[in-house]
């Protein structure tokens, strides 16, 4: 408390001056130090990842048009923006943005969760199942998705955990992954978790960013459900197609 504030506390007449007069921290500092601000970081980073996922899902569907088209598309991803961008520059730019989004999202989630758990240490003796399944599984769902991303990159980008991985032959590698039972299980579980995560996450992001309203609520909830369903179905279509022999 500054000396002016201390003076004010003693005087009722001074009430009008008892507002903060100290310098406020920067915008970034204000955002990062506040629960409301940190949720904004989660909302923005979440929306960046969501946008990427929609593009990624549409790209994946090229697998239904044969190895030629799929591999050609994969190669094109490295030459996007040429001649302005050098080979793979755009790809790396996207990767950098995505890593930043994942880190910001995860760090905020971790810090907010720690705070939430501290704020509510004791459980009620009489417990009820309440909020929707999607809402209650946000934290575990997020952890599952985080682990999945690591596995997914090691499996289909670097090939580290992928025996017989061949660089430059994504079609072959994808079919290879989904020819193993664990490849399918890991992928499908993760995509179901993704659907649930997006279902609550998209609508929540709208509320956090203050764009939700009574008149828009139904539209936002519908959009969240449609996005969740499209992403889950679109992504799961690939392993199902490999399993059923539609893609081989």
């Amino acid at each position: 408390m500054s000396w002016t504030d201390q003076l004010c506390v003693r005087s009722v007449l001074c009430m009008a001056l008892a507002t903060r007069t100290d310098r406020r921290p920067s915008f970034a500092r204000t955002v990062w130090d506040s629960t409301v601000g940190k949720k904004t970081v989660m909302a923005v980073s979440g929306l960046i990842m969501l946008l990427y996922l929609v593009v990624h899902m549409i790209g994946n569907l090229k697998i239904f048009f044969g190895a030629g088209e799929f591999d050609h598309y994969a190669h094109w991803l490295r030459t996007v923006g040429e001649p302005f961008m050098h080979y793979e520059w755009t790809l790396w730019l996207v990767r950098v943005v995505l890593v930043a989004a994942v880190v910001a999202h995860a760090v905020s989630a971790y810090q907010l969760s720690r705070r939430d758990i501290r704020a509510r240490p004791g459980k009620y003796a009489h417990r009820k199942a309440r909020a929707s399944y999607a809402t209650r599984t946000m934290r575990w769902g997020g952890i599952i998705l985080g682990l999945f991303i690591v596995w997914h990159i090691l499996d289909l980008t670097t090939g580290t955990v992928h025996p017989g991985f061949r660089h430059g032959h994504p079609y072959r590698n994808v079919v290879d992954t989904f020819s193993t039972w664990y490849g399918n299980v890991v992928y499908i579980v993760a995509m179901l978790a993704l659907g649930l995560h997006v279902r609550h996450g998209f609508w929540s992001a709208a509320q956090t960013l203050g764009v939700g309203s009574r008149t828009r609520d139904r539209a936002l909830k519908t959009l969240a459900n449609v996005l969740a369903l499209l992403l889950t179905v679109g992504f799961i279509a690939v392993p199902v197609a490999v399993m059923t022999g539609v893609v081989s």
């Binding site: 009430m15 501290r118 909020a131 203050g210």
Partner: protein, 248 residues
């Protein structure tokens, strides 16, 4: 009506509490929940035992003093305050669990009484206008559009009971804080401190150790005054606007 009560008993703030079982007989369905507890306490006093401590004041649903989590619901099964909850909402022979609000920011003082002074400090951070108003001004001196007046009133209905915190899985005070901010921020009288109010009150809310919002919606379901969940969306919008706008 004959009922079995399982009530949280805790000698003081530092003691460990437990759920204790009591039988009460001769309860009329027309009694309020608090009158039922009065009956129990009279019996306990006659027996020479320590009566159950609980908060109450107006007993007409407008002061916000009464609390209690009844069978896992803040203020019990009806959308009203505990004092306005009648025993006809229960059946003869029921077992009823009665617990205090549970949140780190609301420490138990004794039995079912918690310290809600954290709310007072949030109000002190900005839940007022600084203009010296003197006597009640002429009502038409400051024109307020009807929709704004209605919106302000909807938020002003908050009685600060803390049911939102008690119901929130994260022990968050977002609904209370948002109701108090929006109530003043939509009115011309609240306009001069529109930005500092939201920044300071949210900062105080965080300082008190409340959790963050995960949009589970439990608060709005529990609120005896029907403060809508969208109140939090409006606060987020106000906060983001203020964080960008306030001069540094």
């Amino acid at each position: 009506m004959k009922l079995t009560l399982r009530v949280w008993r805790q000698r003081n703030a530092d003691a460990d509490g437990t759920m204790s079982t009591y039988e009460v007989d001769g309860i009329s369905p027309d009694m309020s929940f608090l009158e039922m507890l009065d009956t129990l306490n009279e019996e306990l006093i006659v027996k020479g035992e320590d009566p159950v401590a609980f908060d109450h004041d107006c007993r007409e649903g407008i002061c916000g003093a009464c609390s209690l989590v009844i069978n896992g619901d803040a203020h019990g099964p009806e959308r009203t305050t505990t004092c306005q909850l009648h025993m006809r909402s229960f059946k003869d022979g029921d077992t009823i669990d009665v617990e205090p609000w549970r949140a780190s920011a609301f420490p138990v003082i004794k039995d079912l009484v918690v310290d809600r002074s954290a709310f007072d400090r949030i109000i002190q951070a900005g839940g007022y206008i600084t203009a010296p108003t003197g006597a009640a001004p002429e009502a038409h001196a400051t024109p307020v559009p009807k929709p704004d007046a209605d919106l302000a009133f909807e938020h002003a209905e908050c009685i600060g009971c803390g049911a939102c915190v008690a119901a929130c899985p994260n022990g968050a005070a977002m609904l209370f804080t948002s109701a108090k901010i929006n109530h003043l921020n939509v009115l011309p009288q609240g306009a001069p401190e529109r930005e500092t109010r939201v920044l300071d009150m949210v900062e105080q809310m965080d300082e008190e150790g409340f959790g963050g919002c995960t949009l589970a919606g439990e608060c709005a379901t529990a609120c005896p005054k029907g403060i809508p969940l969208m109140s939090i969306t409006s606060m987020n919008k106000e906060w983001l606007r203020a964080a960008r706008k306030v001069k540094r």
